[in-house]
């Protein structure tokens, strides 16, 4: 049952795996119903989206290098930050971890042969592609300049191509719903014998909570985006104050989805981190139930906090206070997780490998972003910081910082499982340092700028903000370079990386019980679980982690 290798054994590459069985060729991939192949396709697609969104981000930072116009005009700038937001949120952060890694890992973790509805799973991928294509068409035709929030009444009157971008996001919403639905049903019905809910890997718990949000919030977003599109195209007046409509109603609808959507992005990050922290400190998770239930707690409370985006939108002070207090509950649940992760490290046998480096970065970004979030949930402070760079820096720390750290941690931790190859550990740490430092240098200046009063989404700024903007652009360049390094060595390792073997990290996560890469049916015999994941206190299989080899020898 336990295929992890003893010291000195040569790692083997599983010859009959999902990459070459039952058949190879483009057609077999495009029509596949194998969750592993669909997961890999999602990973490739979302990585391309990540690169595109990052490209837009660099253009924004270049433009802000000088106080006046630098490389583009104001209209182009408005399009750039809109496209950056839309691509990063709808095309990368929402689907990347659940649809990519979640698809690949959940059936492996719960001992199933596939997700409950394999055809819906494939449909979800094609809906993602269709939505991306429609949104891309809108971008090529001139893009939108409304910001990713599509606030009315501007979004219903702008002359840019906002309708295709809205419809693209609408279609991607269905992809998200189908994936969430699939995961909930899979978790309920496909668990192998002996895998009780309290033995479920924390990754699955957290993705489950994400799926609940995806199912309950996305339809409302779909409807509100559709209403904006109808309004823009036909002028039905639902959000148009000139016709008696209420533009603030759109903000309510939008944030009813988009605030929980923040947890669609962060909960999967927490899912990854809960696995990584156990595997690299060789300890059982501290407070399993607390970590598991706090995911559900975040998902639940997340539905009642949307008003904190609207403290300055004419909401009553009483409403503002209630939403502020409710928002702080999220901080409590998040803190429960943070304390449990750090307690897991205590007296652990830590292997400071690349995934662990990203875990450390994650913890910093989550706590820093979270604490500024608590400050922003205080109405009196938010009135000053609203729509400044302070907000921009805050949500980049909490959403982008956490999600990107977790995405990269997941990539480095599960790359051997997905491809059967290893990533270079030395280059991995170099890139991790560049990315984490670059990220800090990009966004800490933005906290300061926001606190000094620089508003977000402005094309030009007074000269007193110049120095900090240069610092931010410099940080963004280091961040981008770090990501390019990751991309280069990942592509290199796909071809020339050393063979990993079934379980190079000697992890006790259930997904490592299969050969790497996994066979198409995952498990030839359905496993029977007798204990929970990551139980490192059981002596029989307690191998210490092996230091990762350098990529000296090609396979």
């Amino acid at each position: 049952m336990n295929p992890s290798l003893a010291h000195g054994e040569v790692p083997v590459w599983n010859p009959r795996n999902y990459l070459n069985s039952p058949e190879t060729g483009l057609r077999s991939w495009l029509l596949t119903r194998d969750h592993k192949r669909i997961g890999v396709m999602f990973l490739v697609a979302t990585t391309i989206a990540f690169a595109l969104g990052g490209f837009f981000a660099l253009l924004i930072r270049l433009e802000l290098l000088t106080p006046g116009p630098t490389i583009m005009d104001a209209g182009t700038y408005n399009r750039m930050f809109t496209l950056h937001g839309v691509v990063m949120i709808f095309l990368f952060m929402i689907p990347a971890i659940p649809s990519g890694f979640g698809n690949f890992l959940i059936p492996l973790m719960i001992g199933a042969k596939d997700v409950a509805f394999p055809r819906l799973n494939l449909l979800s991928f094609y809906l993602y592609l269709a939505g991306a294509a429609v949104a891309l068409y809108g971008m090529v035709q001139g893009g939108a300049d409304t910001g990713w929030t599509f606030y009315t009444p501007y979004s219903t009157t702008t002359i840019t191509k906002v309708v295709p971008v809205l419809l693209g996001a609408f279609i991607i919403g269905f992809s998200s719903i189908l994936t969430g639905l699939n995961f909930i049903v899979t978790t309920h019905t496909m668990r192998a014998p002996g895998l009780h809910w309290t033995r479920l890997p924390l990754f699955v718990w957290s993705i489950y909570a994400t799926s609940v949000i995806q199912i309950l919030a996305t339809p409302v977003l779909g409807m509100s985006l559709l209403l904006v599109a109808i309004e823009h195209a036909f002028g039905w007046g639902i959000f148009d104050p000139a016709r008696g409509g209420d533009p603030v109603l759109f903000q309510h609808f939008f944030w009813f989805y988009s605030h929980p959507a923040v947890y669609i992005m962060v909960l999967p990050a927490m899912a990854v981190i809960s696995e990584v922290v156990c595997a690299f400190s060789r300890k059982n998770i501290f407070g399993y139930k607390a970590v598991a239930y706090s995911s559900l707690g975040i998902a639940f409370v997340g539905f009642f906090t949307w008003g904190h985006h609207m403290f300055t939108s004419g909401q009553s002070a009483f409403n503002g206070g209630v939403f502020g207090v409710l928002s702080m509950f999220v901080g409590i649940f998040t803190a429960i997780k943070v304390f449990n992760w750090t307690a897991t490290l205590y007296k652990g046998s830590i292997l400071f490998a690349t995934p662990f480096a990203y875990f450390v970065g994650f913890l910093f970004f989550l706590v820093f972003g979270g604490m500024t979030g608590i400050a922003l949930a205080t109405v009196s402070l938010d009135v000053h910081w609203h729509d400044t760079y302070f907000i921009v820096a805050h949500f980049h720390f909490i959403m982008v910082g956490s999600t990107m750290m977790a995405f990269l941690a997941a990539l480095h931790y599960w790359f051997p499982k997905i491809t059967g190859k290893r990533l270079p550990e030395g280059w991995g740490l170099v890139a991790a340092v560049m990315i984490i430092l670059g990220f800090n240098f990009t966004f800490i200046p933005q906290f300061l700028l926001g606190n000094m009063g620089m508003p977000r989404r402005y094309f030009a700024y007074p000269e007193k903000f110049w120095a900090l903007n240069v610092a931010s652009t410099a940080g963004a360049s280091v961040l981008a370079l770090g990501l390019v390094v990751v991309l280069v060595y990942t592509l290199f390792a796909l071809r020339w990386g050393p063979v990993a073997g079934a379980n190079p990290w000697n992890s006790r996560g259930f997904e490592w019980n299969t050969p790497s890469p996994p066979p198409p049916e995952n498990y030839e015999i359905t496993p029977v679980y007798t204990h929970g994941p990551h139980e490192y206190d059981q002596p029989d299989t307690a191998l210490p982690p092996t230091a990762s080899p350098e990529p000296k020898h090609a396979s």
């Binding site: 199933a112 049903v185 199912i215 339809p219 409302v220 409807m223 036909f234 007046g237 109603l249």
Partner: protein, 211 residues
């Protein structure tokens, strides 16, 4: 080949689990449908609060008897769908086809009445937003009422058409003996969908016609 393996997908260990998964998936899907409409109902609530008099006047301009008849028609169609499912549990596929066919025809009656109503609104200029030329209601409340009216009933109408397609396909397959007394979960799921379409109308009718 025993019936158990005919319908069993490769990744499920038993038909029982597969049926459980299908049912759970359908209920979750219905939850998303409810939330899709909830956004519109919430919008209705907000504007009714803002433009109470105009909404009342616009609502009185509707033909309540058409709404009432349509409610009865839809509830009856739900009843025949339930009867069809009952036939399916006894392995009587032809009975299912007949009863689903009746539901299909009742849905057509519903759409026919809806057409009469829509035609009347178009003639009276009771249209959404900037297209509104009606004289019955003054102020911005009227156009907004009809924007919501067309959005809600239009989306519901689309669901009726989807539901009719589902009933037709499943009914036709049932008539060809595709299901058995042991395995008829598609019939059940089609029925669930149709009941949801019915249930949403139960909320639409009082909101738009009565209050």
């Amino acid at each position: 080949m025993p019936a158990d393996t005919t319908y069993l997908a490769h990744h499920f260990e038993s038909l029982e689990k597969q049926t459980h998964a299908a049912r759970l998936g359908m209920w979750l899907f219905l939850a998303t449908e409810v939330l899709l409409f909830t956004a519109l109902f919430a919008g209705y609530g907000v504007y009714r609060f803002l433009y109470g008099d105009a909404f009342r006047a616009a609502s009185h301009g509707l033909e309540t008897w058409i709404g009432a008849v349509n409610t009865i028609v839809l509830v009856t169609s739900s009843f025949t769908v339930a009867m069809g499912l009952e036939r399916a549990t006894r392995g009587d596929g032809r009975g299912t086809r007949l009863l689903f066919g009746v539901s299909f025809l009742l849905a057509l009656v519903f759409l026919g009445f809806k057409y009469v109503e829509y035609a009347h609104h178009f003639q009276a200029g009771e249209l959404p937003g900037r297209f509104y030329t009606g004289e019955h209601v003054q102020g911005p409340g009227g156009p907004i009422f009809f924007a919501l009216y067309f959005l809600i009933t239009g989306l519901h109408g689309i669901h009726v058409v989807i539901g009719m397609t589902v009933l037709a396909v499943i009914g036709w397959r049932a008539g060809r003996g595709a299901f058995t007394a042991e395995y008829h979960v598609p019939v059940e799921l089609a029925g669930l969908y149709w009941h949801l379409v019915d249930l949403i109308w139960i909320f639409v009718f009082p909101l738009i016609y009565l209050i």
